[in-house]
Symmetry: C2
Subunit: 290 residues, 2 copies
């Protein structure tokens, strides 16, 4: 997906929100803001939003002299989600359709996104869970999701954010774990989950976890490690969480299920839905020209 | 008032909204967007927001090769407001406190602001009128407003937007017109009222109207004509409509009544109120160091 004009004011706001979140020093905030504006003034709009986001958040880390400015936030949401885990696990087990409930919870967990939101909060997470459990969801895609998982041999589950990966864990536990490799980011970017978060939340104990070698808030294939690219190539099914993965992979010819909470009007328009929608969307392998 | 960091993403959004409003040509939209970003990356934050807005809207007019891109919008809202005028006039005349009702309507008219909003619409104007008639309003400042008008000899009424000036006309008709000079912008900027709008709406028939010689969406004194500056100096009471005039005059030592609808969080914080508040606020002449 290309970057739309409407993404630009949002990038500037994101840069400022991030600056305010990670430092009280107004000089540093101003430097981040000005550098973000300069970058945005020259950017190539054919890039996907996470390619621009990657550059902005590199600026933020460099100016703030902080390799992982969202570390505390990531820890906070891992911890919050782990506290909620037993109750949510129960909800899935007591449900008539555990897989569907787990998908709904995985979507709800995607609200913990410090790229789009500058704050989330416990109440918002709980509220999103409640809404997500009854929100409209494409039953056909859900059925196909089941079938695709059943027939796939190598599944790559691309994670998104810290905290959210505990919700992914709930979904993973409903899937054939032996077929699945879970993917985290190669190094910190916004509140995206890294290997550290996968370890903290116990994900590494239940499934193979690799990192993609990249610091983009999405999956920019040619920015990822060779190891990841080989796994991606080999996989016959991709489960991709969150807006960043949708933005970077929506044009990739592969069997992909996108699982996300729609958090901005540009994505809503692209997916032909409302902001706030719960999305499980299949992108079918097209084999065009192959 | 200085420009706050939070104003910057809003400026970029404003630039983009304006670009989309006045042309469908994506190349022109992109050029406006990039030039706005470059300008914002270098701006002096000690300037008030309208000083930056003035530069952005000069870029927009220059790139779009259009001296008055909001002409149609201004005509539309003049016409809409003129249609509402008889009914609103009746409302004032039937009211227990005609001056207060006229002030409330003048505040409501301030919603027609294409700087903050990229669209307003008839329904929003009507809704704002209804709310404004019962919204909390500082009674002490209202009483003082009456007294100041009664004791002043030379009153300058600084208008804001086209359409809105019909609402100003309703208030002017409750005031001693012989003491008042109404001020419009020197040339087009956003949908701010110019002499043409004052003529169209019949303002020039009831009160002296001058222009301030400037194309800023506010009143930047040293950017205004000498004639305006002399009038401003001589005036012993200023009535200043809208956010732009508040942003440019809130630090000027003068007896000023600001009349506005609060439309953004930065102004809300500065005025210690909520977005959407109706404001009649006195700034007392302090004579500090005089």
């Amino acid at each position: 997906m290309k970057t739309y004009f409407e993404c630009i004011p949002c990038f500037i706001r994101q840069g400022l929100d991030a600056a305010k979140l990670i430092t009280d020093d107004e000089k540093i905030q101003e430097e981040i803001l000005r550098k973000t504006l300069t970058l945005a003034s020259k950017m190539d709009l054919k890039q996907s939003p996470p390619e621009i986001g990657q550059k902005i958040h590199r600026i933020i880390r460099q100016v703030a002299k902080n390799d992982d400015p969202y570390l505390e936030i990531k820890q906070k949401y891992n911890s919050l989600a782990l506290k909620m885990y037993p109750q949510l696990k129960q909800k899935i087990e007591n449900s008539d359709n555990p897989l569907e409930t787990a998908v709904r919870l995985a979507i709800a967990g995607n609200i913990i996104d410090y790229g789009v939101n500058s704050s989330v909060g416990k109440i918002k997470v709980k509220d999103t869970i409640d809404k997500s459990l009854t929100a409209p969801l494409d039953k056909k895609d859900l059925e196909q999701f089941k079938n695709s998982i059943s027939s796939a041999e190598h599944i790559l589950y691309l994670g998104d954010n810290a905290g959210e990966i505990v919700f992914d864990k709930l979904l993973l536990e409903q899937l054939p774990l032996e077929k699945i490799t879970f993917v985290v980011k190669g190094s910190p970017t916004i509140n995206d989950a890294t290997m550290q978060d996968a370890a903290t939340t116990g994900l590494t104990e239940i499934v193979e976890v690799i990192d993609n070698g990249s610091d983009a808030p999405g999956t920019i294939l040619n920015d990822c490690s060779e190891n990841f690219q080989q796994k991606f190539e080999k996989a016959d099914l991709i489960i991709a969480k969150g807006q960043g993965n949708y933005e970077t992979l929506s044009d990739v010819d592969k069997e992909i299920f996108f699982i996300l909470k729609v958090k901005c009007p540009v994505i809503a328009r692209h997916l032909n839905c409302e902001v706030g929608s719960s999305i499980l969307k299949r992108k079918k392998l097209e084999l065009v020209g192959k």
